[in-house]
């Protein structure tokens, strides 16, 4: 195996063309852009539901309306006290999460151009949670919406994480005759809650 490593590296060294410089990355200006509006429009166009809320209490009301008969809810936003009566303790074994109906996570930031939301492992508890749950809700702050993926990676910078993911919409497939079906293997729906600016002060 180490001989294959040597073979591959030495062949590449022999065959590579003259050094070519890295280009400057394009900048996408956020000036004059209503980021929240762009985010919401894009999210809805790919099958998400978007709710603008003032506080966490409103989130619980909306979710209970949407899902009247939930059995298992996991919220990873501890301080918000969401579904306090229905909280399950997370186990180490990811397989135990199979029965989770709804998971509620906090998004670190969101991207207007494609409605993707960035979440790192510590925001999920268990990596499989946002995939194995039947429905997913993600809460983002209004001021944490950036214009494009370039700004997104500026924010991520050189952060150290074990696992991180951009989530944009519910799990979906169009593999049968290009008909779009939501809920392939992961969540059947994604509810995004945008916490409005003034609401944050109340919560803090």
């Amino acid at each position: 195996m180490s001989s294959s490593r040597n073979y591959i590296l030495s062949t590449l060294t022999k065959n590579k063309p003259a050094r070519s410089p890295l280009p400057e990355l394009p900048l996408v200006s956020a000036a004059g852009l209503d980021l929240e509006e762009k985010f919401s429009k894009t999210a809805i166009s790919i099958g998400s539901s978007v709710h603008r809320v003032k506080d966490y209490g409103q989130i619980e009301v909306i979710l209970k309306e949407q899902f009247p008969s939930l059995k298992q809810v996991v919220s990873r936003i501890g301080e918000a006290g969401l579904f306090a009566d229905q909280q399950q303790n997370l186990t180490e074994d990811p397989h135990a999460l199979e029965a989770v109906d709804l998971a509620i996570l906090k998004g670190q930031f969101a991207v207007a151009e494609n409605s993707a939301i960035w979440i790192e492992e510590n925001g999920m508890g268990t990596r499989v949670l946002p995939f194995i749950c039947q429905h997913l809700a993600i809460v983002i702050h209004q001021k944490q919406i950036v214009a494009s993926m370039h700004q997104a990676y500026d924010l991520i910078g050189d952060r150290d994480y074990g696992y991180g993911v951009f989530i944009a919409g519910p799990s979906k497939t169009a593999d049968i005759e290009q008909s779009l079906v939501l809920g392939a293997h992961g969540p059947r729906s994604l509810h995004v809650f945008i916490l409005a600016e003034e609401a944050e002060k109340v919560n803090q």
Binding site: I8, E121, G164
Partner: protein, 485 residues
């Protein structure tokens, strides 16, 4: 007089061509793109449906691209980043390896498909595991990993819905992004009825997807090893990114004790910030989505998990040394060139008899086996649409043309094609001969169309003869210009 001699030679050559073509058809051991496309074209309605479906995906791509103001700058930037990658691939691989090892990922190197398969199997043996779940990986298709593992008694279940459909049908994927694009919902219904117990005659995409969801959930929950592909690997951080819409790569990897990710060595990009460029391009080019549902960044194994990454060469390092063909290594496997290709849309992915179909597959495959895939660079009209949509600006149609020269020179092309290309060269390099042969051609076509429209001339399959003009444009122009002056 000289011309007459030329024409006589050409006539003799064209007789030779028919003879050789006949021989070739009889002697040919494997079916060529033309043979397989002919089979596909036996059902014209299906061809039209296939054509329309893929064109629809192409249109979605166009809409998505138009929605991005700096689209062309983005393509140019992506192409330049890849240019830099190719010029430093050895450095970046070593940097990636060092960072990945620090992250706790076990890194393996495979010079070819056989070594890749053996490495993967050795991990199964180490853990005494005989069943696994796999998300989409064109590399493992290229290496025929499933067949190999099956021979060793290991069962692999593909978890991408399209891949599961073709796996149940015992077929290879016909498209790198849309593996079952050639299948009608009725056929999927029949397969699911037979294998997964859905109701007979069920053809509703929603119901069938739910059937697959239930079936694959059980698979995800019970497999100890999960395999995935890799879309991008970052030298700077030693992490790799996997993009899916279904969430199947994550369901597999996060539930399994062992995660094995397999990648071609060209999937390396220098820095994390470069993902911003490629993730903006990939899904928009592939399906017209602004981004895939999930862009998963795997940097370290989760607690208690084992994570392996297999770096595979399989001809890539030597392709880097071929100036005309090296930039095919820029490909990010979006499939845009297939969706736009008039030949792919009307001949179907299986007619390319290789893991990666369409224009990009036709310039990748001859690298691996010139003789077996010598037909593919000819399965194109050279219209250039593939190059036009490629997000990393690979000059696909020019490479198709260049491959034709190489394959003819090296004798991988049948004598008929060689002779007709030589004849074309003679005619096209002499203006006098070009005029004369045009005149002769028009005469023959108007007096005796059957001389061309016969079974030895494949151009006339599924085609009618066009009406023949009485004069060439040049003759017409000379006559009409005189009148006006």
């Amino acid at each position: 007089m000289k011309n007459k001699q030329h024409v006589r030679n050409l006539k003799q050559q064209s007789l030779d061509i028919s003879k050789v073509q006949h021989q070739h058809q009889r002697m040919s051991s494997h079916k060529t793109h033309a043979d397989l496309a002919e089979q596909f074209n036996k059902a014209p309605e299906r061809v039209a449906w296939h054509d329309d479906t893929l064109w629809f995906v192409r249109q979605k791509r166009d809409n998505a691209a138009r929605g991005v103001e700096d689209w062309e700058i983005l393509r140019e930037t992506a192409s330049k980043i890849k240019e830099n990658v190719l010029s430093r691939l050895d450095d970046y691989l070593m940097e990636f390896e060092a960072r990945a090892l620090e992250n706790g990922i076990q890194v393996h190197w495979a010079k070819d498909a056989a070594e890749h398969n053996a490495i993967v199997y050795s991990i199964f043996q180490k853990h005494g595991v005989e069943r696994a779940v796999k998300s989409k990986s064109m590399l493992t298709e290229e290496c025929h990993l499933n067949d190999y593992l099956q021979q060793q008694g290991v069962e692999i279940i593909d978890s991408d819905l399209g891949e599961r459909i073709v796996q149940l049908a015992e077929e290879p994927p016909s498209h790198i992004v849309l593996p079952a694009i050639h299948k009608k919902k009725e056929e999927v219904g029949e397969l699911f009825h037979r294998h997964l117990g859905s109701a007979k005659g069920e053809k509703d995409a929603k119901v069938l997807t739910e059937t697959a969801r239930q079936h694959l959930r059980e698979v995800f929950l019970s497999r100890k090893i999960a395999l995935t592909g890799v879309n991008f690997a970052i030298a700077e951080t030693g992490e790799f990114v996997v993009c899916t819409n279904e969430g199947n790569a994550d369901m597999g990897a996060h539930l399994a004790d062992v995660h094995i990710a397999c990648m071609g060595i060209e999937k390396i990009i220098p820095k994390r910030e470069h993902l911003g460029v490629f993730l903006r391009l990939l899904a928009r080019s592939a399906t017209g989505q602004p981004i895939t549902t999930y862009s998963s960044h795997f940097k370290k194994p989760r607690k208690g998990q084992e994570m392996h990454l297999v770096l595979v060469d399989n001809g890539r390092s030597s392709r880097l040394g071929e100036e005309s063909f090296r930039n095919s290594l820029k490909c990010i496997r979006c499939g845009a060139c297939m969706n736009t290709c008039p030949v792919y849309r009307r001949s179907g992915g299986h007619s390319y008899h290789t893991a990666i179909a369409g224009p990009i597959g036709s310039i990748l495959a001859p690298n691996m086996d010139r003789k077996q895939f010598a037909d593919l660079p000819f399965a194109s009209t050279l219209c250039g649409s593939c190059t036009h949509v490629c997000p990393v600006k690979i000059n696909i149609h020019e490479q198709l043309y260049q491959w034709r020269q190489v394959l003819v020179q090296e004798g991988h092309v049948d004598k008929g094609k060689q002779l007709s290309m030589q004849a074309m060269k003679v005619v096209l390099s002499s203006p006098a001969l070009f005029k004369l042969s045009g005149k002769a051609g028009r005469k023959v076509m108007s007096l005796a169309p059957f001389a061309l429209n016969h079974r030895l001339n494949p151009w006339y399959k599924q085609r009618e003869m066009p009406k023949v003009p009485t004069s060439s444009f040049e003759e017409w122009y000379r006559k009409n210009r005189k009148k006006d002056e």
